[in-house]
Amino acid sequence: MLPPPPYSTGITIFEICADPSQLNGFSWLSCYLTTGKHMAFYQSFGTVLLLLAITAPTALAFGFMGAAGARSRIAPLRWIGKTYTAVVRGVPDIAFFLFFVIALDQAFEYVRHRIKCPDWTDAIRQGSDFIVCQAAKLPLGNSPQWIHETYGFFLAVLTFAIVFGAFAANVLFGAMRAVPHGQMETGEAYGMSHRQTFWRILVPQMWVYALPGLSNLWMVLIKATPLLFLLGVEDIVYWARELGGTKTPQFTDYPHGDWRIWYFGALLVFYLLFTKLSEVVLERLMTRLTHGQATTGGEAQRKGLA
């Protein structure tokens, strides 16, 4: 990946920020917090939210396929599903992150190499090198910076989805088993096929059972987002380290000491607020979903009303 593009520090929002050395106190701070680099820092919060917005449904889809596979009547599909859900046990997830981001990249380049350069005779792995032909490189050597960044982000999303898909598969597998068996039998008694009972009876009913596990997973996913930094994406951790470090007057208009502790303190508060907000929203969702259900929660609600 290429180094990040230089961000111009000359662009300022307020007129008074033209000469920062003349400023002090609050006006200095307000100018400092609106420099181009700080704008990139604020944007990286958007990157985190975007990652969450894309990863959550993708991981759910992966998880659904994994859980459905683990229940399948076809043995090889069942083995794949079971292996996928079991593979996350016992191994640190950060190892998965570091592994997948390189492994996926090499897998894509390998496949493209096979397709685009079929008459290439040299071995791809030569000692410590991984060599594919120019046309198979991802992204292509001459593509602009934003494609490099998007490709990096795409790899990160895919890695997150694979790891969290395995977690979600476990939750959904449990939820599918929690649906009362009598429901499925009734479906079969009405002459539905295996596929029909799965889609018409099992899937609509499993969500209530899956929600506690999935909301737990959502909290975990939020807390996993700083790992984006390890995958080479310029996320909030990257910018907090970058902006917080000691700045000397030669390189910036806003010299300051080592402020990284304040930046990371801010990130800490951001995550605490985000988890608290999610907790409140998920609590409400659960209250609505349990309303009128024949579960302990639903019963407690009914008694509370009476």
Partner: protein
């Protein structure tokens, strides 16, 4: 160079004994197995000590959260919320830069900026918060009859806690606590990726696995090795916690004993 020689040279590399320079070319499988295994020393060190110290703080925090006194309850609730509500990765970074600033004030904090102490403190507080929540849940689900029986025997205060409440709490919490222990060992891999420097390239297992993956550009060897080591470690944790579990449940008839159920691990 034979594999025995490699093990002699690099077996204790992560704690600074043996060959100083890491291999730079001609990485053999033996190199990778030895160095990644050597790094496991740090993972075990962090996990073991954090668990040991964290256990006592967790009991305190759990009792605090269950307390009726405002000034005992609120700090415990906040402690648990802060450490469970934020990513461990950010906690590591924050603690490292905090210790770095403190070092500027007082040289006494010198040792805190190195991983062996600074990261251990973060892991200790973190696991205390997670375990505290588990113990709190267990405290609340102690059967009322057990407490009534203790009262009937004339036990109160410390004796009641020591003989009835605490053992029952541990028994109820043990399966969840086993999972927590496994997560904690996995979380130790974050240490050297979060600010704390690996002094003279003395790192943990993931640090060396990452080193090999970077140098050979082949992730398909070092990471599976790492995975193998961690699976062995997890099985050891499950085994030893299982022994304690059997001890805690020894008074129950064998069909009512709780079996340990290991759920898949989850990031913190």
């Amino acid at each position: 160079m034979s594999c025995v020689q490699t093990i002699m040279d690099y077996g204790l590399r992560s704690v600074g004994i043996g060959e100083r320079l890491l291999p730079r070319t001609d990485f053999t499988l033996c190199h990778q197995f030895t160095l990644i295994g050597s790094g496991m020393i740090w993972n075990i060190y962090f996990g073991l000590f954090a668990l040991l110290f964290g256990f006592f703080l967790a009991t305190t925090v759990a009792l605090g959260k269950g307390s009726r006194h405002f000034w005992l309850r609120k700090p415990s609730e906040w402690f648990i919320f802060i450490f469970r509500g934020s990513p461990l990765f950010i906690q590591f970074f924050f603690a490292y830069f905090l210790f770095l600033s403190l070092k500027g004030v007082n040289p006494m904090f010198d040792a805190f900026t190195s991983a062996w102490l600074g990261a251990l403190i973060v892991l200790f507080l973190n696991t205390a918060a997670y375990t505290g929540e588990i113990f709190y849940g267990a405290l609340r689900s102690i059967p009322k009859g057990d407490i009534d029986a203790a009262d009937a025997f004339g036990l109160s205060g410390w004796a009641r806690f020591r003989r009835v409440i605490w053992p029952t709490m541990l028994r109820l919490a043990w399966p969840a606590y086993t999972n927590e222990a496994i997560f904690l060992f996995h979380a130790t891999t974050l240490v050297y990726f979060s600010g704390f420097p690996a002094w003279q390239q003395r790192g943990d297992a993931l640090y060396y696995a990452n080193y090999f993956a970077d140098k050979t550009f082949n992730p398909f060897v070092p990471y599976p090795i790492l995975a193998g080591y961690f699976i062995i470690l997890s099985l050891t944790v499950i085994g030893s916690f299982g022994l304690v579990n059997r001890y805690l449940n020894r008074h129950l008839p064998s069909d009512r004993r709780v079996k340990l159920k290991i759920r898949p691990q989850i990031i913190r």
